[in-house]
Symmetry: C2
Subunit: 212 residues, 2 copies
């Protein structure tokens, strides 16, 4: 079982949550809008007008019930990260390559499609590519893999303080590798036990793996 299935979504108080950002967060240069209602995401986006890079996640729920609000968001962000089934749902196309291009045409400069144990795809203005998942023999729980993928990606961009195509590609690799640690234990247990050196070493191994 290297895959996960969402059985139910209970938004509870998160449903009407409209965060008010403090002064520090309003100055953020790298803004990641975690998966929530596009209305919430737009309200956060409005509070960080000077961000260098804005990236959002979304899910099938919002595609199904707030498609117009999501489309409005897509016209205002630099990047969208979503999973394969969501990309197909949003683009209404079963071919993932076409779906990726179609979602990008909805507004964002780039789209990253997460494919779980099969890695990720990138669709930019001038390039598209695929990165496989790092093949770990130890998969305990894939929950949170997508979120830590996005975290690893955004964290690397913020650390580099660049978002050119080369930086984005390297950041995707960092996302893939961050997620590969996440699935090796429950919750954040594996991530909590590694340091930057572990991450960099696995990224180097991954780079070697893809070189032929």
């Amino acid at each position: 079982m290297n895959d996960r299935e969402t059985l139910e979504v209970h938004l509870n108080v998160f449903g009407e949550f409209r965060p008010k950002l403090g002064a520090g967060h309003r100055q953020a240069k790298y803004l990641f809008l975690g998966n929530s209602s596009p209305v919430t995401q737009l309200s956060v986006l409005d509070q960080v007008p000077d961000a260098t890079l804005t990236v959002a996640d979304t899910m099938d729920l919002w595609i199904n019930i707030q498609r117009d609000e999501l489309q409005a968001l897509l016209k205002r962000i630099d990047g969208l990260v979503l999973n394969d089934s969501e990309a197909k749902l949003l683009a209404e196309d079963e071919n993932l390559v076409r779906a990726g291009h179609a979602v990008r045409a909805m507004g964002p400069k780039f789209v990253v499609i997460k494919k779980g144990e099969h890695g990720a795809m990138f669709f930019g203005e001038n390039e598209m590519y695929v990165m496989p998942a790092y093949p770990t023999p130890r998969v305990l729980d894939p929950t949170g893999a997508g979120d830590s993928f996005a975290g690893g990606m955004m964290g690397h961009l913020a650390a580099l303080d660049r978002c050119d195509p080369q930086a984005l590609k390297e950041a995707l690799a960092y996302g893939v590798i961050t997620a590969s640690f996440t699935v090796e234990d429950f919750s954040l247990d594996r991530l909590a036990g590694i340091d930057r050196g572990d991450l960099d070493r696995r990224v180097a191994e991954y780079r070697q793996m893809l070189t032929f």
Copy 2:
């Protein structure tokens, strides 16, 4: 629909087929035993005693009904190519990374697991790696993708006349790219329309895609 499902297998005369190789074929240096009964594969293998590299394909049918004969074959070949569900079935393990290592431990020097639209994995004595599929927006029919993957791989090794780890890795890339053409049309129509230059250009593009 980037996937295929085998509904029924009718072996017909192929079931009892025991090919007798001519003198030329008995001298082959690169031997690929296409998917058929391991008994047939063993009888062909016996006729090519001086092959430099021997690789076999198999399928779920033989894993289910001729597991012992397949195990005997695995002890005598250099490489096995099979798809993801077959690897899991043969290894009795749902984790594909562990399954690949387990199948390799059954005898062959290396195992290649084909994952359809998700690419391929390689398990060797000292290394394992993943190669994603080439992301083509045009998938008309995936039938034959696995066979042309193996053909592209073996053809490249025979052309290089090498089977060291670096040659194998490059050959896997050629397999991935050969298959990416196959799925773009029915039957052999797409393959029949390309030349070596088209193949090499897409391999170069694929190499670039995996470089970060």
